[in-house]
Amino acid sequence: MLTIGSYQVLRLLRDKVLLVWTLAFPIIMSLIFMAAFSALDDSYEADPIEMGVVQDDAYEAAEGFDAFIAALSSEQDGTHLINTHRYATAHEAETAAKNGDTVGYIEVEDGTPVLRVLPNDSAANTVPVLRAALDSYEQTRAQYAALAAQGAGPEQIAAMQVQHVSTQRAQITESPSSPTVRYYFALLAFACGMGMHISMLAVQEVVAGSSPLGARRTLAGIPRWKVLAGTLGAAWLGILVCLLAAFWFIRLVVGVDFGAHTGMCHLAIGVSSLLSCTAGAALGTVRGMRTGVVSGITCLLSLFTGLYGTAAQELADTVQNSLPLLAQLNPLWQSAHCFFSLLYYDSLAPFAHSCAVMGAMACLFLSIALVRMRRMSHEHL
């Protein structure tokens, strides 16, 4: 069994075409992504924007708001969102914005800060963050007042406030990853799909009805399950290594941060490769299956993981929202989702759920493959 497995691995290492598809192709694609996103990534940083502040009575009345604004405009790392321009009235602030001196202004109405911005591309990235900061101020104002009453200095409180916003924002993505990470998840799932080639070919070469090699190996003098275990085990190992290589390439060379659960990512890769191996094995029992068809299936399923850009992501999201079951039936979606859940949730429960679903799928595919193989071994050649 070990001999069978090791020869299978050796053959895989020497099969250059297969290696290009399963190993080199995802890595090349990650490089293409890296090139495409390097420009995009910069724009995700919230650059300080020119912002008017209406410094009227309401402003003065808002507890700690002045300190809050000061914190937002301080040069301190990470919280420098705005360069403040102060105006006495809303009218003046509006005029300044229209003149292009600022991109908008902040005004306090009934004790609530309101952000008024003109449509302007250059501020597009910072405005949402600023809005979140203001919302947060609003939400915790009461708490804030209490703190102030306890004698905390306004500067101190404001700094806390901004800190809070930053953490909140970070929590959405768990770590300061860029939204492009989603592409790399889809890419890993894609690599997973390409891995199906390996097990598909392995199965075709071991089933009597599929190839002369299969016929020959069916005549083995050792129990059949050993031949199958050796062959499929090697195929799984091959897929696993390809996926790990793609993962570490993306992690180290492309420099994508997979968040706090990088270790768990390996588990996700393990389960994904198992799913890929069994799905490929099931495909291998389909009469006349060719590598082109497997590539086609992978490319099609990858569409629903959002691999091909924003339009594909929107399509994926639409399917996911309106037909969640259909989306979840897609093994590649499951694989991408598994990585996703590691990065986007604090709790490991969604990840565990995802792994369980993939495990179940793998069992299903394996059963199909085994039943079909058994049948084909005794069918017509």
């Binding site: 001999t3 069978i4 020869y7 053959r11 020497r14 020959r216 083995a220 003098g221 005794h378």
Partner: protein, 319 residues
């Protein structure tokens, strides 16, 4: 019966409507080189695959070494070596690795295998090519590798399915010699081919099949004595005058002579079995004062056997 290598009883295999093997029965003794002779499509490979349980069949019983053969008879399978009709080797592995990989399907022990692989390489004379990939081998060498992969585990029963298709004459002779060698070492051999000459040279017993049916079975001599055709005599007439019609007529009247053809300058006489055909024919020519040059006499070949049997079969069908 311990010395019965293979027995097939009433084997029927259909592909849909088409009957590929039609009620075939067959016994092969240990130590034989058994030839399965028939034109392409006559059902040789199908028969072999049914025996090996690679194919399901509609009816019949197959036993190997006296025990019923099933898909999980691993003990029996270990004693069988198969050289399939289509070359089936791993393109990514070298010659030596290929042989070892297939040997490993029968012999788990690595150390024992090393000796077996070395022996197999020697046997097919691929010593100079052990590090070659199959793609780099010529057709003849590739066939030899295919054989080595099937016999490395030194099986007692070796089944070769058309091992010499598309092989140059030199390699072919090497292969045939090798098969004789295997047989001398004690292996029973089943050899399928559509080349009559090969089977005739090699096999101790032969079954002729066509359209899935057994037409004749026996030793080379038995098969030849089954048919009407005996020896074929050719005489080169070197006289100044062509042979007269009366001489030809006299030859035709000889006992055991079936046909006489005369195409200047050669005389063809086809005889049925008989001891003194050649001297009878030459006696007639000498008696008439005909001068003749080169004389050849050929015994019947399996070709004649096959032509005669299938010819009759064809006529039966037409009737």
């Amino acid at each position: 019966m311990a010395d019965e290598a293979v027995s097939v009883e009433g084997l029927v295999k259909r592909y849909g409507e088409m009957v590929a093997v039609d009620n075939l029965s067959l016994r092969i003794e240990s130590g034989e080189i058994f030839g399965l002779l028939g034109p392409n499509g006559s059902g040789k490979t199908t028969t072999i695959n049914c025996v090996l349980q690679l194919l399901s069949y509609d009816r019949g019983e197959v036993a190997v070494f006296g025990r019923p053969m099933t898909a999980t008879s691993y003990e029996l399978k270990r004693r069988i070596g198969v050289v399939p009709q289509d070359v089936a080797v791993f393109d990514e592995l070298t010659v030596a690795e290929n042989i070892d990989a297939f040997c490993a399907l029968y012999v788990p022990d690595r150390r024992r295998r090393r000796a077996l692989v070395a022996e197999a390489i020697d046997f097919v004379d691929l010593g100079g090519f052990t590090k070659f990939r199959p793609r780099k081998l010529s057709g003849g060498l590739l066939r030899r590798l295919n054989i080595a992969c099937g016999i490395a585990h030194q099986p007692e029963l070796i089944i070769l399915d058309e091992p010499t298709v598309a092989v140059d004459p030199q390699s072919r002779n090497a292969i045939l010699d090798g098969i004789r060698g295997l047989n001398e070492r004690g292996a029973t051999v089943i050899y399928t081919s559509h080349y009559m000459e090969e089977v005739e040279q090699l096999c101790t017993r032969i079954m002729i099949m066509d359209a899935g049916r057994q037409l004749a079975i026996g030793t080379n001599d038995e098969l030849k004595s089954m048919i009407g055709t005996g020896e074929r005599i050719r005489v080169e007439i070197i006289g100044t005058e062509p042979l007269g019609e009366d001489v030809v007529e006299q030859l035709r009247r000889l006992g055991h002579v079936r046909t006489v053809d005369y195409e200047i300058p050669e005389l063809h006489v086809e005889c049925t079995s008989g001891a003194h055909n050649l001297s009878d024919v030459l006696g007639v020519l000498s008696g008439r004062g005909v001068a003749y040059g080169r004389v050849t006499s050929e015994p019947p070949t399996l070709n004649d056997v096959f032509l005669e049997i299938t010819g009759r079969a064809l006529r039966d069908e037409a009737a």
